[in-house]
Structures are given as structure tokens and as C-alpha cells.
């Protein structure tokens, strides 16, 4: 067992000559809620995209539980244990709520069932399907979405869509959950509710969470540690309150005195 769930070493990417992100060194311990913050265009989502295989980093490596995942494809990285949500929600809109979660369960070894048994409708197919429905209902129940399980995902209200996306990501049984601006577009009350959900997820799913957020009340409320990015480089790193008080960080957010 490695010391950190996620460790990145000098992670960086350049598009042509533009160095979008350089030398990001994250160290996230188990059961930690870690914040990745920074002004617009700082490269936070780019870091997420590298960690999930959407982009291949041009420099550096990253390790999940000590295993080097650099260069793997998106689905491989997901199988290894990193799941994510998106900045603007990406659900399977034309599928029901429960089906969205069941897609997340697709690759779990306990629900393995080949193409041939499903086409022949062997008993195994029915068993797997029933077990998947049961598990999906459990997960939906935790998120309070069980009553809505037969609703189309696109017909859910905004806050519930966010919840469903987190539920879907969790259904893949990840070791690390990446949340890309989970509180975007939420009012203070919804944000408070979301903070409870995130804490709940950490405690009940034994989860480590890395999140991008602009809402400082949320960051201060739940993040143990943060990394502040600006123009693709690390500005400050450490305990949330200390890092946010760093004069460099204040300058990046609020501008210089003169």
C-alpha cells in the first residue's frame, strides 16, 4: 500500500508551444478531501483531463496507490479506480436514472456476463441483471434518488442531476473520485447540502476525493488540503486556510495593491 492514494510527479502538458500546465505535484492521502483551486483558465480541468486519460501528459507521471497510470486510456484508468464528474453535467440523458447508474456498474467483476449469454438469454443474464438492479437501487437510495429511478435523466432538476452524476461515478467503485465544480450553479442551501453529500460519500464509501471548486465557502468547509493553480503553475499548496491566506494567492485572485 502506498502512502498516498494519488501522487503526481511534475505532471505537465503543452499544446504546441503553449505550456498549459507544468510541474503539478499533488499528494493526496487516503480519505482526504483535496481541493484544486485557481482563477479562470488556470488549468484545473486540464489536470483532471490528464488524470482521467482524456489528455496524455507530455511531462511527468501520476500514480494511483503506487501504480503508474500515466499513458493509459480513459476506460483503463477508470477500471484502475479513478472516476470523475464533469464541469457541465454529462449524463446519459435519454436513459432512465437507474440505467445511468447501471452503466457505471458495467465493468465490475461481479456483474460480468459475456455477449453470447446475453444474446441467448441464459439464466446468467437474468441473474446478473437482477443483481445490477439491486445494487443500483442501493446506490440511488443513498443519494435519495430511488423514487426517481424511472425518470429520464434529462428530466431531473439540476441539483439532482449533479447528484446522479456523482452516483454514477461512485458506482464504478473507484478509489479516487474527481469532482469538477460540483457546486457550480447551486444556491447556498444546495451547496450546503452538497457539502454534506461529499462528506457522506467520503465516510460511507471510504473514498478519497479531489475536487475543483470556485465556491470558497465550500472549499474552506470541506477541503483538508488545497493546491492553488495559476497560469498552469502551482502557486501555493498545503492546509486550506494557510494556502488561501498566502499573499501570492490573494494577489492572483484579487489583484495587486498598486
Amino acid at each position: 500500500m502506498a502512502e498516498y492514494v494519488l501522487e503526481t510527479k511534475n505532471l505537465g502538458i503543452s499544446f504546441g508551444g503553449l505550456k498549459a500546465v507544468q510541474d503539478v505535484n499533488l499528494k493526496i492521502a487516503k480519505n482526504e478531501i483535496y481541493g484544486l483551486i485557481g482563477p479562470n483558465g488556470a488549468g484545473k480541468t486540464t489536470v483532471f483531463n490528464m488524470l482521467t486519460g482524456v489528455y496524455q501528459p507530455t511531462t511527468g507521471t501520476f500514480y494511483l496507490d503506487g501504480e503508474n497510470l500515466t499513458g493509459l486510456s480513459q476506460e483503463k484508468i477508470n477500471h484502475k479506480g479513478i472516476a470523475r464528474t464533469f464541469q457541465n453535467i454529462r449524463l446519459f440523458n435519454n436513459m432512465t436514472v437507474i440505467r445511468n447508474v447501471m452503466v457505471g456498474l458495467h465493468n465490475l467483476p461481479e456483474f460480468k456476463c459475456g455477449v453470447i449469454p446475453t444474446i441467448l438469454r441464459l439464466p446468467k443474464q437474468y441473474r446478473t441483471e437482477r443483481a445490477m438492479v439491486a445494487r443500483a437501487e442501493e446506490i440511488l437510495d443513498i443519494f435519495g434518488l430511488k423514487e426517481l429511478k424511472n425518470t429520464l435523466a434529462c428530466n431531473l432538476p439540476y441539483g439532482k442531476q449533479r447528484k446522479l452524476e456523482i452516483a454514477r461515478a461512485l458506482s464504478t467503485s473507484p478509489k479516487l473520485l474527481l469532482l469538477d465544480e460540483p457546486a457550480a450553479g447551486m444556491n447556498p442551501q444546495e451547496t450546503a447540502e452538497l457539502m454534506d453529500t461529499i462528506r457522506f460519500v467520503r465516510d460511507n464509501f471510504d473514498m478519497t476525493i479531489l475536487l475543483i471548486e470556485h465556491d470558497m465557502s465550500l472549499v474552506q468547509g470541506i477541503c483538508d488540503n488545497v493546491t492553488v493553480l495559476n497560469f498552469g503553475t502551482t502557486l501555493a499548496q498545503g492546509k486550506t486556510d494557510e494556502a488561501l491566506a498566502d499573499p501570492e494567492v490573494v494577489k492572483a485572485y484579487l489583484g495587486d495593491d498598486d
Binding site: N49, N78, M95, T96, R99, R121
Partner: protein, 383 residues
Amino acid sequence: MNKILEPFKRISWKYLINYIAVAVVGLLFTVLTFSSGLPQSTLFLLEKITMNIILVVSLSLVVGFLGELSLGHAGFMCVGAYIGGKVACILSESIDGDGIVSFLIALLVGAAVAGAFGFIIGLPALRLKGDYLAIVTLAFGEIVKTVFANSSEDTFGGSMGLRTPRFDKQYLFIIGFVLVLITLAVIQNLIRSKHGRAITAIRDNEIAARATGINVTKYKLIAFVISAIFAGVAGVFYSFANSTVKASVFDYNYSIDILIMVVIGGMGNISGAIISATAITYINTELQTLLTGGAAVYKDIIYALILIVIIIYNNASALKSFRERFNLKALLKKTKLFNKTRQGYADDEGKWDRVPTKIDMDELLSVDVNVVESIKNPDKEEM
């Protein structure tokens, strides 16, 4: 009593109704042909309809459920027809010429070769997105057609077409109905399974599907190959229904005809696909026999007009209330027989009918998550 009925309540009628409808119609005509015999034209029509249903249902897997546009379906059918026809030719010299055995062997070989072509074409082509894939599959169909048309006379008959041993015409359509049932079984079972869910997830949001751990390439290939296999099956059936297989039949017009039937039947709607394949084939054949001589030129115009009217009727917002009041579902509801909303897991409640293919979904076509979003709403990026 309730305990006995329990398993039946979980049956999803949405899919079962298709088997029942096809089987009932098939049985009806079988009884008719054994009791009084059917005219040649009806047999021909039935063969054509069953063949088209196989084609439409299999293409619907790629277009409706996977959301990729394929314009090469007639190409796969062409492969099946020539290979199946050739196998039947070879077999007719050794074993019984028009027997069911040679048909089955030809069917398996033709379908397998078409499936193999689907794999070979699909492997590179499915890396392409949207309209590019459409162009590649279109080109594939044309290449296959041209290759077979220019083959030497003793291999595939060249421009004269491949002469195939004829099957007993009277009963061929029964095999057609059986093949439709097999096609329905495979494709519907696939769609209703976890693998079908993965396929529809890719259509709904490819980026999210990848992030959720779905092996997108694998599932695209599975859908593509299965679709090609059944196009091959339809091709073999064609070669048995006709005494010669001519390459010119399998041109891109035919691919587009199949696509039209899929679209009119409703994206990802199997019952719709069956109905539209039946109706459009019937209309087309009737027009062909009605309009002879000089009037034949009007056939395409009338056909096009019918298609336009259907499409407008289905989409015009002015007709919405009319549609809602008089559609089949509403009428069935009035009978109170089908009024129950079930909590079953077996059938998919997806709203397939308004699902666009990826050609309309530019944002799905790019892996470049951020770049596309920032182009689409520049001021909202990383808000």
C-alpha cells in the same frame, strides 16, 4: 393464481409484440400457401419484405442505438449475397442443389464473411466520427459492388451477375420469416442487456461513457459487426430468392433506402423499423407494378412525396395535438388493456424517438472536452 401470473407481468411487451406480430403474419401466409397457394407476386413481395426487415432492424442497431451513421449496409449485403450464392453453387454440384442443408451452409458462410468484412472495415472506420464514418462506409459499399461487378466470369459471374441455384420458391418466404425472428431475437436481446445499455450510453454521451469505463471501441465494433452479419444474412437470402445476383442492385441507393426505413420507423424503435420496412417495401413494389411504361417516371416522385408527408406529419408542431390524440399508444390506452405502468427492469424506457444521431451532436464528436465547450459558450468556460 397471482403466483402463476407473476412471471408474465415482468414480460416486456414492447419487444415481445414484435416476435408475436412477425410469427402470426408468417403463420398466416404459411397456412394460406399450403391450403390454396399464393400468387407469384405475393411470394415475391413477402420475400422482399422479410429481407428488408432484416436489413432495417440490423441497421437500426448501428444508426438508432449506437448513433453512428453507416451508408454501406448494401455493401455488406452484397458480400453476403455473392459469397452465399457462390457457396450454394459449389454445394449444388456435390450435394442436393436446392435443399435446406446447402441453404444453411451458405447462410452461415455468407453471414460470417460479411461479419468479417464488418470487423475489417469497422476497426479503422469507427475511429472516425459522424459524417466521416458515413463517407467511409459509403465508399466501402461502392468498392465492394465494383469489385464483384468486375470479377472474372467463372468466379463471381462478372457483369452478367452470379447465377445461383434456385430454392423452392413456394416456401422460401417461410425461411424469410424465420430469419426475421432470429434477427429480432439477437438484436433485441443484445439491446436489452447490459451490453445494449453500454451501446446506448455511447450514443447518449461518448465522453461520459468513456469516463464511466465503457470500452467504446469494443462496443462500437460489436454493434457494427452484428449489424454486418445480418446484412450478410439478408444478402444470402436475396441470392436464394433470385436466380442471378447482380452487383448493380447493391448500390448506395439501396443503402439509403434502408436508412430511410430506419429513420421513418423511428431511431432505435424496432417495432417502427418493422412497420416502416413493410410499408415502404409494399408501397414501392405496388408503385412499380401500377405505373408501367411512360408513367414509371412518376414512381420516384410519388414515393418521395409519401416520404415527405410522413416526415412532416411526424415532426410538424402544428399537428402535435392531433398526433397525441390519435396515435396508437393513446388508442391502446383508451381500451384500458395496456394502462399499467410497470416497474420492470427488462425494457428500456428511453425516449428513443427524439434522439439525434451523432452527426448533429458536434460536442460529442470531440474528445477535446474543454476546447469545444469554450467555443460553444466562450463566456461560461471555467466560471
